[in-house]
């Protein structure tokens, strides 16, 4: 049991370090595109470490199952949300998410 406790503590410590580093990254990066890179470690890696810590403490039981369920939803949501956020920021900045080639007006915009 002591080995399990130590292993669980190490996993929790790693998760906290990742969240702390990511939060500082969100604060220090220049624009929203760069800040978004630091959401992924806190949204995917740290939860996986927390769920592993719960698994080490409890083994396969009800609480571990629900923790895995929460992790599953976060893994599912993370990439979609990141993509949607980048797309929205780009639409706000340029009016269209597609890359316009030089001299070409993006579809949906009228040429003047």
């Amino acid at each position: 049991m002591i080995v399990n406790d130590i292993f669980s503590d190490i996993l929790l410590g790693l998760a906290v370090l990742i969240v702390l580093a990511s939060s500082i990254g969100v604060l220090l990066m220049r624009d929203a595109y760069a800040k978004l890179h630091f959401v992924t470690p806190a949204g995917l890696v740290a939860p996986a470490l927390v769920v592993l810590a719960v698994l080490v403490q409890h083994g396969a039981d009800e609480m571990t199952g629900e923790a895995f369920l929460a992790l599953f939803f976060m893994i599912l949501a993370g990439p979609f949300l990141s993509h949607a956020t980048i797309r929205a920021i780009r639409v706000r900045e340029t009016g269209d998410w597609r890359t316009a080639r030089r001299g070409q007006v993006p579809a949906g915009e009228k040429e003047q």
Binding site: A15, V19, I24, V39, P47, Q57, F73, R92
Partner: protein, 84 residues
């Protein structure tokens, strides 16, 4: 083994302070990113507290918030894209 999980939950809440500063002071796009970050961390905090106090029923909260994270994030993102 209550203490490590509670300590981790408290440490994670403290770690959200820099992102909270961005949420409060940053421009709109950066605030949405900080909101997504903080929601992800709160899912973990709820899971850690449920584990710390050995309440299996409380594990429904992080599961629910993980589902809502997707929906609420998309609502904010679409609002930012279209109206804000």
């Amino acid at each position: 083994m209550v203490m490590p999980f509670v300590a981790a939950a408290i440490a994670m809440l403290i770690a959200t302070i820099p992102a909270g500063v961005v949420l409060y002071r940053g421009e709109l796009a950066a605030s949405v990113v900080a909101y997504e970050f903080i929601t992800s961390v709160v899912v973990m905090v709820l899971a850690l507290l449920a584990e710390a106090f050995k309440r299996p029923s409380l594990f429904e909260l992080p599961v629910l918030l993980a589902v809502l994270l997707f929906g609420s994030g998309l609502v904010f993102v679409r609002a930012m894209e279209r109206w804000l």
